[in-house]
Amino acid sequence: MAEVSAGRTGSSAAPRAVAEEKRLNMVQALNEALADEMARDETVLVMGEDVGPDGGVFRVTEGLIERFGNKRVLDTPLAESGIVGSAIGLCVGGFRPVCEIQFMGFIYPCLNQLCSHAARLRNRSRGTFAVPMVVRMPYGGGIRPPEHHSESYEAMLANTPGLKVVIPSDPYEAKGLLIASIRDDDPVVFLEPKRIYRAFRQAVPTAPYEIPLGEARVAREGSDVTVIAYGAMLQVALASAKKAEAEGISVEVVDLRCIVPLDVQTFVDSVVKTGRAVVLHEGPRTCGVGAEVAAAIGENALLSLLAPVERVTGFDTVFPGALLETHYLPHEERVLAAIRRTIDY
């Protein structure tokens, strides 16, 4: 493959390879990943509600139907089970569909197809049938929309064997992880932090590149406490780390990138080094990803822990309406307070 060897793969923070780059926001990076893969592999399809002429409600699929036609970009009826279920059939029939679910709050109708079938068909058929499908969707809060438009349901997917769950934290990550997800032969749920869709631009190689699934990365080095985050919360983690620095606390930040496969080694190594951990996500606390990370730290680094693992998460409540959103979402101050608690313990 004539590709640049991508910069920040794995848990290393290696310098980015020098290659042709453009400054893109996350929506553009994702769009480029889709277009590149559709151009490279004609079995790649894009399907979902409003992915055609509308280009998706967030414009991630913009221009694709014009370029690849309506046999590669399928505007579907309004039915999430239909989208994922028929995509399973398309996989069996030789395609690699990239489905869009309009918001993560609307995945429940497709969970039977996703969890009872997509996640299981390989196992059920002892490897005879694969489901090389990607199910993309915007997730998380921060844009003050109506109910059901801000949810973070990744924990429930992580509890479902057979799926991969990938969550990029910036445009560079988004392109590399989406390309890897499309090329992956297993069903991948690809969660897009809508809050940072257009929040900032970043240099992104124009050539396709893959970031391997299942390798977390150290997004910032530090020595006193490890903050483990992903998606939009990574930016919150980094900002909190900066503020902590001003207080003399050195924070290491780990970007999980994938919830499944979970790269336990990378965050455990970090916690062994720092002795303290804060895990950060937007989804509800109980049985959330934070519980898994905390449990894994307890299992693998108990004797290194100088303080309990702090969980900074969404509350065990419905994601609130626009007027109360900022109270719900973990923010820098809240992370900083947790960092301080691990230090003061």
Binding site: D50, D54, A79, F106, P146, F315, T317, V318, H327, R334
Partner: protein
């Protein structure tokens, strides 16, 4: 007879008032006296006035995302005229018109669009909160209709949805449950031609939505949804039947969404100006006004006076909306359970502590 017909069926369409304001007198219901006919027009004008105000307020950042109902006034007003006070309304997100016509103060809808959850509860009517996951609410309407049937109450539950919603599995399960349990439910589908950017022709291969009733052995009927009289007649007949426990009914009101899907959408990306113009000619308000003017029941003076009064009503609602203090942060927690679990109480306390540390009065942190 080895090849036989095991089923045969037709689906009717009702039109009474045409686009130029001419009425089929034979079909004009006698109970529609002059005052009621005028009220029909007023209801529609009122819906439009509130709708226009909402669009303005959204542009000004005074409410959040708003989905306009412009163009769908006749469908909703015609139904509203046939609704009884005890009937249950199970709305999705474009039924502000019928709620308004049933007496719900529109500040509640505006508040809902602001993200103030206290306002999504509608006083004075039997109505559920608006349901956002498309199609799902139809099962609630089926269930309420089952409850009414179990108790033998002469009341109807009315479930609302759009054309796009008919593709969801829940549409199917709702109509099937309603059929099997003889639910006292009317399914009122506003086929406005589009589900965001997907036209009805890509939503389903069936020629009409009304014919989907055949799958459930229930009655289905199509009306010109821009004709308030047709909508009234179909709704009246359907509701009578439903309330009497004679079976659920599906009404398809064929109408058009004149605006973008919501203020977050741009309809020019996916549909033609010609199409919009075609439907503008079929405007529900224009034709009813023409009809009433022809009968001497409406004139320019009355029109202006009505608009003036509506303008005042709208401003009064907005004023009351904007008088509302914001909800307290604890609102996030306080309605999750009938009694608050310990773990949740701790989370609530943590938020309060955080706000206190900020020297806070509960205002957002930034």
């Amino acid at each position: 007879m080895p090849i036989t017909d095991v089923y045969s069926a037709t689906t009717r369409r009702i039109e009474i008032l045409d686009k130029d304001g001419k009425v089929d007198e034979a079909l004009l219901p006698s109970e529609l006296d002059d005052a009621t006919l005028q009220r029909a027009l007023e209801l529609m004008m009122r819906m439009r006035a509130f709708d226009e105000k909402a669009l303005t307020m959204q542009r000004q950042g005074r409410i959040g995302t708003y989905g306009s109902m412009r163009g769908q006034e006749a469908a909703q007003a015609g139904l509203a005229l046939a609704i009884e006070p005890d009937d249950w309304l199970v709305p999705s997100i474009r039924e502000q018109g019928v709620l308004e016509a049933c007496g719900v103060p529109m500040r509640h809808w505006f508040g809902f669009c602001k993200g103030d959850e206290r306002m999504a509860v509608f006083p004075g009517v039997n109505a559920l909160t608006p349901s956002i996951p498309v199609g799902s609410q139809l099962l609630h309407a089926a269930g309420i209709g089952m409850a009414l049937e179990l108790r033998g109450e002469a009341t109807a539950a009315i479930g609302f949805a759009g054309d796009g919603a008919t593709s969801e599995g829940d549409f199917h399960e709702a109509l099937n449950f309603a059929g099997v349990f003889n639910a006292r439910t009317l399914f009122f589908i506003q086929n406005n031609g589009w589900a965001i950017s997907v036209p009805i022709t890509q939503q389903t291969r069936s020629a009409t939505i009304a014919q989907k009733a055949h799958a459930y052995g229930i009655e289905g009927v199509q009306v010109d949804g821009n004709d308030v009289l047709a909508s009234y007649v179909a709704s009246r007949d359907a509701l009578r039947k439903v309330r009497a426990g004679e079976g659920p009914v599906l009404i398809e009101a064929v109408t058009y969404r004149m605006e973008s899907h919501t203020t977050a959408d741009d309809h020019t990306r996916y549909r033609s100006a010609d199409e919009v113009a075609y439907w503008a000619e079929r405007d529900p308000i224009k034709r009813m006004r023409a009809y009433l003017e022809g009968r001497g029941l409406w004139d320019e003076t009355r029109h202006e006076a009505t608009l003036k009064k509506l303008g005042d009503d709208v401003e009064a609602e907005v004023a009351r909306l904007e008088d509302n203090a914001p909800p307290p942060p604890t609102d996030i927690f306080d309605h999750m359970y009938s009694a608050m679990p310990e773990t949740l109480r701790a989370q609530r306390q943590a938020l309060l502590d955080e706000i206190a540390v900020r020297g806070g009065n509960g205002a957002n942190h930034g």
